[in-house]
Symmetry: C2
Subunit: 388 residues, 2 copies
């Protein structure tokens, strides 16, 4: 039987939780416009969001089921989800690209006095043209659109068991792809070819698609962790880092692995072991009631001696329907960990001027502690000897 | 020698063109926040945009070079572009995530009386939290942020020869991958496995990554063209459609191919031949001075007899740094074609109730007519006989 998608109860539960929080916050409706927010309530999964042309809307009323207000090109696929009230227009419409239909629907749902909540806080954005948003707010008056009171953040940050299983499946695929890196990487191979072939390994092991791959291969560590591949061949003594966010059934993993090309140095090994020690240190305190900041400090003590971090800005983050989600493992983030939160632990360590190593694992917070979702790496950096 | 990136002159030309249009529109600065807009002026290429956490900003002043206002995690990579003025903050910052730094920089560039242009029109969005945008506009007063007067649209819609070459390279990779579909698709293969393996073919043929793949395999045509893969095995007599947007050096192709699984029908073949006829009909009139609407009508006459289109909403669109760009091939889009515009021609035809075939090619507008960038398909739908 297919393990794709979720039973309808999963979506009903999400909507009911949202409606409970909406009642507390005095919101007459929620309006969402981004891929993950829309999918969270509907299960609507398509790569068509890669096209920025058309806006998509979903409304969660104070009670009852969500309403989709979407381009007609997506109506057939939306009709295969649990959403029954689907209103569509033929987009793109250069004069009125869904704005009137959305305003009418919001008016019907929220009346003329209700506040409509829209995610406006950190890590959010509005996925519609700003000029159309201005038209929408003008049409809605005297109703107003306000902040969603953090409802999407608080709901999505805690994962259900079904979601955790999907993230675990994504991690398992990356685990298996990383175990095969010796098939594709050796001294002399251009880095961009290694990147292409690593993505092929991810797909071969079961990834639906591979939205993220970054990395580097340099001597004694790398200068940043977000670069695309250059054509430079891997060289003996390099540290090769591959950091992937692959997707299985709409959920991401996000972790990296480091490899020594041909040979390694004592300094590289010591830095790598320190990173593993930092992860272990965070794991020991990762449980409900600890904070995101606590995890930061546990790792920062190991990698900088408590200096307060680096230019990367954080030592981990939430993970789920997006490569990165709330919270952030930074000193300022006092978010309390809750059972069901899925996080990355991502300590970095300086290995020289403008040089670093970064290591990353994926974990889930359980009642009594944390569990790895990725298969944790050991302290010794694997050496790729080029026997291919 | 590497064909990656552009010479600095390319970026200088883009900036000068922008500044000419800004002077006409009375704009003191342009502010851009999305991946393609930022890359258009800077050459900054990274997959890190997959993480929605951090906002990124680039300012084009009325004269002089652009200024990047970005998270410190990206400063090293930005320093490898031609951008010299890079201002960064340690993001994420839960209190002030770049807003003050951006406001100060805009004040410095635009003074207190200038209007700052931001893309607000069709197909655009603002990639920063709405609450932070409100803080920004409050800090900037009495300066205001207004529409960019369509400057980004008009600039990016016309491609340079260097850009056209990159799109052609992406098309060539997809051409070669489509030529190998018989290696991976046959009756009995689950569609999701065909999708995974088709992405592997794209990577094997030189794609840097594969941001888009949609398609279907059904009898007598398919019900929509934006679905991800199901686990249903291909069946004798299916039409398999694969529609890919792969990226090479930051530029997309976007076209599809149809295949008959095992055997085909006269009806399928006739529908396919009609689609090719529609493409040819648009090619005959595609030259500077014709409009996007003209191309729509040329194809619509063939596929519906002139009924005015379908729920897909358009019969093609612009293409470049994004899978879909302006203009839209719809009756309402009177955009005049210009030399250097890259478009998709994407006619669809109804083959039964809720059933259609869609065919897509990529073209560039030249002074005397249009050229194919994809290798155009012939009228006969290829049959995959499963000899593997």
């Amino acid at each position: 039987m297919s393990d794709r998608g979720f039973p309808i109860e999963e979506f009903r539960t999400r909507v009911l939780k949202a409606q409970t929080l909406m009642a507390k916050a005095g919101l007459a409706a929620l309006l969402v416009t981004t891929e993950p927010d829309l999918r969270y309530f509907s299960g609507y999964l398509t790569r068509f969001w890669e096209s920025p042309t058309r806006p998509w809307f979903l409304i969660v009323p104070a009670s009852g089921e969500p309403i989709a207000v979407i381009p007609s090109i997506g109506a057939a696929l939306m009709a295969r989800t649990w959403i029954k009230d689907i209103r569509s227009w033929r987009a793109p419409d250069l004069v009125d690209d869904g704005v009137s239909l959305l305003a009418e629907t919001l008016r019907e749902v929220a009346g003329t006095s209700g506040v409509i909540g829209l995610p406006m806080g950190h890590e959010s954005h509005l996925r519609m043209p700003l000029a159309d948003y201005a038209r929408l707010t003008a049409k809605l008056a005297p109703s107003v659109i306000g902040d969603d009171a953090g409802i999407l953040r608080s709901l999505r940050m805690v994962k259900s068991d079904a979601e955790i299983n999907k993230i675990r499946a994504a991690c398992g695929i990356a685990d298996r792809a990383f175990a095969r890196v010796s098939e594709i990487a050796a001294s002399g191979e251009p880095l961009d070819r290694v990147f292409r072939r690593f993505q092929m390994l991810c797909l071969d092991e079961g990834a639906d698609w591979v939205p993220y791959l970054a990395g580097a291969s340099e001597q004694g560590g790398y200068s940043d962790v977000i670069s695309p591949a250059t054509e430079t061949p891997l060289a003996e003594g390099d540290v090769l880092m591959l950091d992937t966010g692959l997707v299985r059934d709409g959920y991401f993993c996000d972790f990296d692995r480091n490899f020594a090309i041909g040979a390694t140095t004592e300094a590289n090994n010591a830095a790598h072991a320190r990173l593993i020690e930092a992860v272990d240190s965070a794991m020991q305190i990762a449980r409900p009631g600890a904070t995101a900041a606590d995890l930061f400090h546990a790792m920062d003590r190991i990698v900088t001696g408590g200096a307060g971090g680096s230019d990367a800005g954080r030592l981990g983050h939430g993970l789920g329907m997006q490569l990165t989600e709330w919270p952030s493992l930074i000193p300022a983030d006092q978010t309390e960990l809750q059972e069901g939160m899925v996080l990355t632990l991502e300590p970095g360590i300086e290995t020289g001027p403008g040089r670093m190593l970064v290591h990353e694992e994926n974990i889930v917070i359980r009642a009594s502690g944390a569990e790895f979702l990725s298969t944790p790496a050991g302290p010794h950096m694997p050496v790729l000897r080029g026997a291919r």
